[in-house]
Assembly symmetry: C2
Homo-oligomer: 330 residues x 2
């Protein structure tokens, strides 16, 4: 009897020990091929006795933002910010009631807004992103995030980040990676909140930007935001921005659209171990399902050429057990 109790006690201790050493670094990822491939890659590049070891200073990982770290439906959240701002600013711009594309925004005519195309978008973007100092713009973004709510979930926009990706960011950092955002989104639209939400500091955020100018106002310097595009960070310019801002080729890149194709190609064409990953939005119930026909996060080449490039396509419905952090807390 005592022997049996002793045996059970040893079994219990063994179970505890096993549980401790096997703590899952990616608990929201389904056990399977995708999760295992990520873990194998991290094990390989951090194993100083293995042939695929990469020193910590070269463990650079880049992540797209829209559709990769947070959602992008019904449309890019920065576009929703623009639409909200146009409405907030409208009382000071009575002419917008009869001027396109502003009128379309005030009348919630999404078809007409999209029909305004790149030129119309830039008019809306500049009206809402320029004409203030950098510090004033930061306050505007923070105020919007604190009050605006997503039309279908009712959540704050920066709550709609992906729990499995938060775990992956932490897992990579715990393994000596330096993690960057490389997004088509605006630099100064992302930086006010990326550190609190993703643990990614402002200087590790690469994005699109408008021109700014150093000016003295009341004997104090400011940076005035000008209505002029400086850099659009998308597809072929993502490797350009990676080179300019980061100065090293990543060994891991994670995107979700054809706007990330060249970032993944640039990353995985380097020598040594490399990992390119794409989130495939396959979950119409818990998030959204879209790829080839979507105006946000269009993914055609990425799906067609993932295999030949050795990229891992993460199937959201299959590979992610939780989508948003607020769901795991429920």
């Amino acid at each position: 009897m005592l022997k049996t109790i002793g045996f059970i006690f040893i079994l219990f201790l063994t179970a505890c020990a096993t549980n401790q050493t096997a703590t899952d670094p990616l608990p929201s990822w389904t056990d399977g091929v995708s999760k295992q491939r990520i873990i194998n890659f991290v094990n390989d590049v951090t194993n100083s006795n293995g042939g695929d070891f990469v020193p910590s200073s070269k463990r650079i990982a880049t992540f797209d933002n829209d559709g990769t770290l947070w959602s992008e439906k019904p449309t890019y959240f920065q576009l929703l910010f623009i639409l909200d701002r146009i409405k907030q600013m409208a009382p000071d711009h009575p002419e917008w009631k009869t001027t396109q594309p502003f009128q379309a925004v005030l009348e919630n005519d999404m078809a007409l807004i999209k029909a305004a195309g790149e030129h119309g978008f830039m008019q809306l973007a500049m009206a809402t992103h320029a004409g203030m100092t950098t510090e004033e713009f930061e306050t505007i973004v923070n105020d919007w995030l604190a009050t605006a709510r997503h039309p279908s979930t009712g959540q704050a926009y920066n709550s709609m980040v992906y729990q499995p990706m938060l775990e992956l960011l932490d897992y990579l950092r715990a393994n000596g990676f330096k993690v960057f955002i490389v997004s088509g989104g605006g630099l100064e639209f992302m930086r006010p909140w990326t550190e609190a939400v993703y643990g990614i500091p402002p200087d590790q955020v690469v994005g699109s930007s408008i021109e700014t100018r150093y000016e003295m106002r009341n004997s104090k310097p400011v940076l005035a935001r000008l209505p002029e595009l400086h850099f659009s960070n998308d597809n072929v310019t993502k490797p350009v921005a990676i080179n300019r801002f980061i100065g090293q080729r990543p060994i891991l890149a994670f995107g979700n659209s054809d706007g990330d194709f060249e970032m993944l190609k640039w990353t995985t064409s380097g020598a040594g171990p490399r990992l390119g990953l794409l989130v495939h939005h396959t979950d119409a119930e818990r998030e959204w399902a879209y790829d080839r026909e979507s105006s946000e996060g269009r993914l055609v080449r990425g799906l067609d050429e993932a295999d030949e490039n050795g990229w891992l396509v993460v199937d959201m419905a299959r590979d992610w057990q939780v989508i948003y952090p607020y769901q795991s807390a429920e």
Copy 2:
């Protein structure tokens, strides 16, 4: 007797303890006002019980490079690189023998090179900095650093960095600062060696840059360096670049010329504790002495307005006991 020995022993222990806590973090800096002000600043911002505490994530420090971290005489080292490269490349460009400003370089006519002005400089810069991939350029810079020697010291150029500044960079990092270079020098001219020499990784180097373009060559992506200026990082554009690359206002900035004036102004105009510093080149014997009349590192406004801005002017002759690391090893 035993009591006396005990007392002496306690004195000895006390002396050891005092010595240990007072290890000098800046041994190449002369004990005096400049060194004390730097140490006081670091103590203030790291003292979590004090009114001037700054959390580590906001301890951003920016350093100019030419004349601040390494020497810039007889002229900017990157210009000496350009001149060396023109001579190396000349056999493939017979037309340079009779074409200015190339002819002036081949004939070592420094007066004529300088007289060629900004336009002439850009011709030389583009001929030597563009027309290859980013990886090819990195090899060119590394080869040059490995073989080229400074005309008066006979040292490798990246040996001519300032020992007191290396100590300051280490001291700041040990106190939770994130340290960046913000230089007029070329991004990709600095990045190949800043990590080894200064401990500053490529993504913490901000500088001037030329355009690059993503291209496929032999089924592999490259970044081609184009003969077109992307960004010149000097005076009023330094705060612009700090905002774009770093995304936070520094709390400490260190420069040596009027090209750093706006960086210091931007840094020290923020709320809370701030420190602006200028190296004043006052040591004609151990380094060079120059300020108001120099074509490199011209310093006029900085000297005239340092006091009213509360900036610390570091007097190289007085404040630095050693200039270069190879001198302290001698």
